[in-house]
């Protein structure tokens, strides 16, 4: 059989979940966002969640366009506000499975406050952060993920800020599931997204992706393949290590893995508990309680 013909005789297996009338998507040649999206689709299919109950919320950015290609209820909101929008969506329809997919700038530059508070509250959201180490959509500026010294259009002499370790931040704020992969770890990534969807509480999956057009171009990795190979070569898997030790050091290792997978009541669990009055009174502050050991001079 020849594959030379232009149209294959079967549709792409993901076409069901794709707004095919919007293909090709806007992402550049070799951009990792498409791969991440592909993994999301696989995870959604495998999860067995009724499709009507899955929603995706994105902010603004290259990654933010993901929602627009998913043929499910999908919301492309404002820059930085995907998480609070998703908060309302989820609380209004608790049986729904709400996936937030957005860029690192969207989720953690302008959106950083919502991120930390949602993690703290343990809102039942699955947050997928595509980390391409810069702001793709606006042409490649410095982001809170940009490695120290890396060049971007607003750090032409090198970035003078230390980046965040997003996984460590998520964990520090209370996320119950935290994993990081590159966009080449397609099977592990798909598994993590699936686990995150099934997890009750704030789950966070970071994906390191090539942005050849911007990050690559300014850092001598213009070719998509070079970037992806670089990630591949440098990434090392260290499951369950403390995410603050899971450093991204471009000169050495890019540590990936599943770092956190714990249980903690969600916002709604606690809300219901308290509003049924089931928790009982908040402990009196009066010092009737057993006293802690005191130091001689406190």
């Amino acid at each position: 059989m020849s594959t030379k013909k232009k149209k294959p005789d079967a549709p792409h297996p993901h076409d069901e979940l794709l707004r095919t009338d919007r293909m090709p998507h806007i992402w550049c040649t070799g951009c990792g966002i498409g791969t991440v999206f592909s993994c999301v689709l696989s995870a959604v299919e495998k999860s067995g969640t009724p499709l009507d109950d899955v929603a995706m919320v994105s902010g603004i950015g290259c990654t933010g366009r993901m929602a627009g290609y998913l043929k499910l209820d999908s919301f492309h909101t404002t820059h930085g506000r995907a998480i609070p929008f998703a908060t309302g969506l989820k609380l209004a329809r608790p049986q729904g499975c709400v996936i937030v997919a957005s860029g690192d700038g969207d989720l953690l530059a302008i959106g950083g406050n919502h991120f930390i508070h949602a993690a703290r509250r343990n809102l039942d959201l699955t947050v997928i952060c595509v980390n391409n180490f810069n702001y793709g959509m606006t042409g490649g500026q410095l982001a809170p993920s940009t490695p120290f010294g890396a060049r971007t259009t607003t750090s032409t002499q090198g970035c003078s800020e230390e980046p965040f370790n997003f996984c460590a931040l998520a964990a520090a704020c209370g996320a119950v599931y935290v994993a990081r992969w590159t966009s080449l770890h397609i099977r592990r990534l798909t598994t993590s997204i699936g686990e995150a969807m099934n997890k009750r509480g704030f789950s966070f999956v970071e994906v390191l992706t090539p942005c050849p057009t911007s990050f690559g171009r300014h850092n001598k990795m213009r070719k998509p393949l070079e970037l992806l190979k670089f990630y591949h070569e440098r990434s090392v898997i260290r499951n369950y290590i403390d995410p603050k030790d899971a450093v991204l050091d471009f000169k050495k290792n890019l540590v990936v893995g599943k770092f956190v997978d714990i249980e903690r009541p969600t916002f709604l669990d606690n809300y219901r508990l308290l509003n049924r009055g089931e928790l009982g009174d908040w402990p009196d502050l009066e010092p009737k309680l057993p006293r802690p050991e005191k130091q001689a001079s406190g």
Binding site: I26, C28, C62, R65, M137, T213
Partner: protein, 196 residues
């Protein structure tokens, strides 16, 4: 209704082909080196790469009032979509140039002067597909007299990163040579036809 003396040039293609840079080099050549007036406006989509994109240049002896190109005298097409969308706007007698590998033209308005050049292929051969636009500018310098060729050379040199000046110069000359030889062979053909 372009004002007298206004030359309107429309360059269309995809994001990532350097369409905007092409327009801006052209405008720069006219403004800074030919000491005429020029405006360059751009239109592009949200895509960093691959979205449709155009650059509109007006060159004039006088101050330019309205910066949009309405009826280009020159149309350069580096994508099929760009060609399809804009060909109707080219004035009768206008100059049409396209990239051989990226655009398929069908019936052309007979009054047009029409050229094609495999600019992208040439650029690939020179080691970087992204220089197709500079090849195109070299070609344009050969087949039109929009701006002085040295002005254009200077504008190219002052607009590209220092490290890439040499290769860009090569790309420019590659396009220019192709244009000149094309003109020559056409001239021959015309002569031949005349003689025939």
């Amino acid at each position: 209704m372009p004002a007298r003396n206004e030359k309107e040039i429309l360059i269309t293609g995809f994001g990532g082909q350097g369409i905007v840079l092409t327009g801006s080099i052209l405008g720069k050549a006219a403004t800074l080196y030919d000491r005429r007036h020029a405006t360059m406006t751009q239109s592009y989509g949200p895509e960093a790469r691959g979205g449709s994109c155009s650059s509109q240049v007006i060159i004039s002896e006088e101050e330019i009032l309205f910066p949009y190109v309405e009826q280009p005298q020159v149309l350069i097409c580096m994508s099929q979509e760009g060609y399809d969308k804009t060909k109707a706007s080219l004035v009768p007698g206008g100059l049409l140039i396209w990239d051989t590998d990226l655009v398929t033209t069908r019936e052309l308005e007979p009054s047009w002067t029409a050229y094609q050049i495999p600019a992208t292929r040439f650029a690939e051969e020179l080691g970087n597909k992204m220089m197709a636009n500079i090849v195109m500018l070299g070609f344009l310098s050969a087949v039109s007299e929009l701006v002085g060729v040295d002005s254009l050379r200077q504008a190219v040199q002052s607009s590209v990163p220092a490290k890439t000046r040499d290769t860009n110069a090569k790309a420019f000359e590659r396009g220019r040579e192709y244009g000149e030889s094309l003109l020559k062979s056409r001239a021959k053909k015309d002569q031949g036809q005349e003689q025939a």
